[in-house]
């Protein structure tokens, strides 16, 4: 057995020591004699969150299937251990071999949300790797980032050697080959980065210079500073999702992870074009996995993990063509055998309710709807194709089926939002409650409970709203108050509950989402002041961030609240996600006209993603 990196004294003193010991079911063990590339794969948050992430499990499986490569895992040490490691100068280690991250050839970091940026610096710092790419030497691992936030990598570009833009299954083998080739040729770190930059989808920030307009501080343009490096970076996409890596033997943590279940990704991409949704835009085109592939995987993964639950994952599961067959297979195969099928946010219709009543205890479960906006006008602006009638009809059949708890998700601060739209959130919640009380008392199941939650709208890169202004923290709270006041005026106010998100965090998230390279200073200053685990409410220090923004001389108005002009060059414009800027601009204009765009199944809107050779429009053509 491998000796833990931490002593008994430390492990006995910290919370949940099993976060740091490795040795979980299905952990890969390799003889280091057979390994010539060591890859540390990091999720920069606490173990239970990181272990719940499907992408890491896919890449862990893929890397470890490569000959000579050993992929090990790293997560953020929680505050208690973080303090001890700093005090006692203990270097950050991987779970598999319990050896220092610094010994690895690569440190890969998945970047799933903006509020983990300070944790990225923690990982580098505790590993003893210089925070800035330009300060690293031949002794340091190559630091590579991937995941959704790399669609605007600029606020953290200075901290990374390479970004992988797109889906991880495609070009990592090429990168490993380049690394070996460079080593054989006794090449330097920079030589390797040059090789990497020529692989499609890989972005080396050091080879790209950004110039700014003197008068207004916006971006003037990008200049590649090394011949042979492409001007644009194209997102990598897996077109055949039924013949690719998928972890048949996912890791099973000892402590309960947030996702304590088998996660079956049924498709990627989304046919709907919600204008606020980055995932919906950057993961186009829609690609389904074969039904037989999914059945086979479900059986193998449940057998190899022993999990009691399987959950289907995708952006919009109801749009998967074989959903009924898949659910029927799972229920038939596993019902009564101690395996639960947990359903992701499905469209509520008679079929899904029938399925749910088979797999869940109706009295305990609640139904979730995401209308995203309170008024039909606002829903047209954001292109959310869910009508009031859909919601009320869904609720009605659910109430008749015995449900009495409903959760409604909304956004506040959407472009063009009026007070009427805000009040609409309360009014729609009221209509849902009223729908319940239309049912005869004898057929109802006690009182109804309607919970409305609002998050604050944050414009994201590569969405039609990338041009949109964002509210200030103060304005967000004003709007929440309008909703809350209206809630209190409703007839069924005692059945309604309203929650709203923290405004200060949203403002910082907005800055990091659409920031440029100048914002990296803010991240560094915030980290040095003590910001860490910013995604955890209790750990978020608004005052440190405000100080960091002031000290870096950054204007929140410039990054968040102003509306960007149609001609503006964005920090992320050198990336080609397949979806064109012209399409996004068309959609931005249509949103201002309150015009809805059809989904891919109804009619192609010419987003550009068919260039990858897939998607519904592409299949229809061929």
């Amino acid at each position: 057995m491998i000796k833990p990196a931490l002593s008994d004294e430390i492990l006995m003193r910290i919370e949940k020591p099993a976060r740091y010991i490795g040795n979980e079911v299905n952990m890969v063990k390799k003889d280091l004699k057979d390994v010539d590339i060591r890859f540390a794969m990091c999720f920069p948050d606490v173990y239970e969150i990181g272990m719940s992430h499907l992408g890491i499990q896919i890449l862990y499986d893929m890397f470890n299937k490569m000959e000579g490569v050993y992929c090990e895992r790293v997560y953020s040490p929680w505050h208690d251990l973080d303090n001890i490691m700093r005090e006692q100068h203990i270097p950050l280690f991987t779970l598999e071999t319990q050896e220092p991250v610094k010994k690895m050839d690569f440190l890969g970091i998945t970047i799933q949300y903006e509020m983990c940026y300070t944790n990225i610096l923690q990982i580098l710092d505790l590993s003893g790797i210089p925070l800035y790419s330009k300060e690293r030497t031949e002794e340091d691992p190559i630091v590579i980032g991937g995941g959704p936030c790399t669609y605007n990598p600029e606020p953290i570009a200075d901290f990374f050697d390479i970004f992988y833009i797109g889906e991880g299954e495609t070009v990592y083998q090429d990168l490993m080959d380049a690394y070996r080739r460079n080593r054989e040729n006794h090449g330097t770190r920079e030589d390797f980065l040059f090789l990497a930059a020529q692989i499609p989808g890989l972005y080396v920030p050091a080879f790209l210079d950004v110039e700014y307009n003197k008068e207004d501080g916006t971006i003037q343009g990008f200049h590649v500073n090394r011949e042979g490096v492409p001007e644009t970076v194209t997102r990598q996409v897996v077109m055949d999702l039924s013949h690719t890596f998928y972890p048949e033997k996912p890791l099973v943590p000892f402590i309960r992870a947030t996702q304590d279940r088998v996660v079956l990704e049924i498709q990627r991409g989304c046919i709907r074009g919600c204008r606020f949704c980055q995932a919906g835009q950057v993961y186009k085109p829609n690609r389904e996995r074969d039904l037989e592939f999914l059945k086979d995987m479900a059986v193998k993964m449940l057998q190899n993990t022993g999990h009691e639950e399987i959950s289907l994952s995708s952006l919009s599961s109801s749009d998967y063509s074989h959903l009924n067959e898949l659910l029927e297979f799972l229920i038939e195969t596993y019902h009564g055998k101690g395996v639960n099928v947990s359903l992701p946010s499905l469209r509520v219709d008679q079929f899904s309710l029938d399925v749910m009543s088979k797999v869940q205890d109706v009295r305990k479960s609640s139904l979730t709807f995401a209308p995203e906006a309170g008024s039909q006008r606002m829903r047209n602006v954001i292109n959310k194709g869910l009508t009031e009638e859909d919601i009320l009809h869904g609720c009605e059949i659910a109430f008749r089926g015995g449900w009495n708890k409903v959760k409604l998700y909304f956004m506040l601060g959407l472009p063009t939002e009026t007070e009427e739209d805000m009040r609409g959130i309360a009014e729609l919640s009221e209509l849902v409650a009223e729908k319940y009380y239309e049912i005869p008392k004898s057929e109802r199941n006690g009182k109804v409970s309607v919970t409305a939650s609002t998050s604050f709208f944050i414009p994201k890169p590569f969405t039609p709203f990338q041009w949109a202004p964002m509210c200030t923290g103060e304005e967000f709270l004003n709007r929440a108050k309008i909703v809350n006041d209206r809630m209190k005026e409703m007839l069924n106010r005692k059945s309604l509950k309203y929650n709203w998100h923290e405004a200060d965090v949203s403002v910082i998230e907005g800055l990091l989402a659409r920031g440029d390279r100048r914002v990296s200073k803010v991240v560094e200053l915030a980290y040095k002041k003590g910001c860490l685990f910013d995604a955890w409410g209790d750990s978020f220090h608004s005052d440190y961030w405000k100080e960091a923004i002031d000290e870096a001389g950054i204007s929140l108005d410039f990054y968040n609240t102003r509306e960007r002009s149609e001609e503006e060059v964005f920090p992320w414009d050198f990336i080609n996600t397949g979806v064109t800027k012209q399409y996004l601009l068309r959609e931005w204009k249509k949103s201002k006209e309150e015009t809805v765009s059809p989904n891919c199944k109804v009619q192609c809107t010419g987003c550009g993603a068919s260039c990858f050779g897939g998607g519904i429009c592409f299949e229809n053509q061929n």
Partner: protein
């Protein structure tokens, strides 16, 4: 049919807490395709009960869990499958059928043996064996035990059944619901007797075996819990 499983919890898995060990076994049983019984209802539970929870940081070489199964393969085959599906440090030692009428693990626990060693760097500056025997030779061994409301003085001597010295101090102590003595408490009393402070983290504790009582209360006969069960032979043998 009731089955008693004996297993180890050694190495880093000693940092896995009791609730997580329960979850671990639920999943292990499924991976090993043991035909365990489930309770009725919307959230069926496996019929499973652990003999005695082990604190985080304490190793175990003879831990027990009882399960109820519909059908079963032989002991040998079941042990093989469980070990194939298990991790380093959690090793299945035996899988035996419990005859009708045997109390479940939790209820039948009467005693346990522990090995207490000093961690590296914490070795005592006195002869452990001599001092410990002196301590044991006292008429009574009194210790203040804190309860929720007050502190009470208890004599723990009668709960120490046996002391030997092999690779540390091996203590056989009362365990279970009637009387339960933890080795840490014995050492706290020992250090009070010495007039010294027991340094934090000094001790490394391993539970070696858990026993049931097959004798009477007055004349106990402690036998390892696994000995209450019998091996299931391979079909045809």
């Amino acid at each position: 049919m009731k089955i008693r499983i004996k297993f180890t919890k050694t190495g880093v898995v000693k940092y896995v807490g009791h609730l997580d060990m329960m979850r671990y076994f639920q999943k292990l049983i499924r991976r090993a395709n043991i035909d365990i019984c489930y309770s009725e209802g919307f959230n069926p539970h496996q019929k499973m009960s652990f003999a005695a929870p082990l604190g985080v940081g304490v190793s175990g070489e003879g831990e027990y869990v009882d399960i109820e199964v519909n059908t079963t393969d032989s002991s040998e085959e079941s042990v093989r499958r469980l070990n194939e599906a298990s991790v380093e440090g959690i090793e299945i030692k035996s899988y035996r059928r419990l005859p009708e009428g045997v109390l479940n693990g939790m209820a039948s626990v009467a005693a346990a043996t522990y090995r207490v060693r000093y961690r590296e760097g914490y070795e005592p500056d006195f002869s452990l064996e001599d001092k410990f025997m002196e301590f044991m030779n006292q008429e009574t061994i009194e210790i203040e035990k804190e309860t929720k409301k007050s502190t009470a003085v208890v004599d723990i001597k009668s709960m120490i059944y046996d002391v030997s010295f092999q690779n540390g101090v091996v203590l056989k102590l009362a365990a279970g619901s009637a009387a339960n003595l933890k080795p840490e408490l014995v050492f706290t009393a020992f250090y009070q007797y010495l007039g010294k402070e027991l340094p934090e983290f000094a001790l490394e504790i391993t539970r070696l075996e858990v026993y049931g009582n097959s004798g009477t209360e007055e004349n106990p006969e402690f036998i390892p819990l696994e000995d209450f069960g019998e091996d299931i032979p391979t079909q045809g043998e």
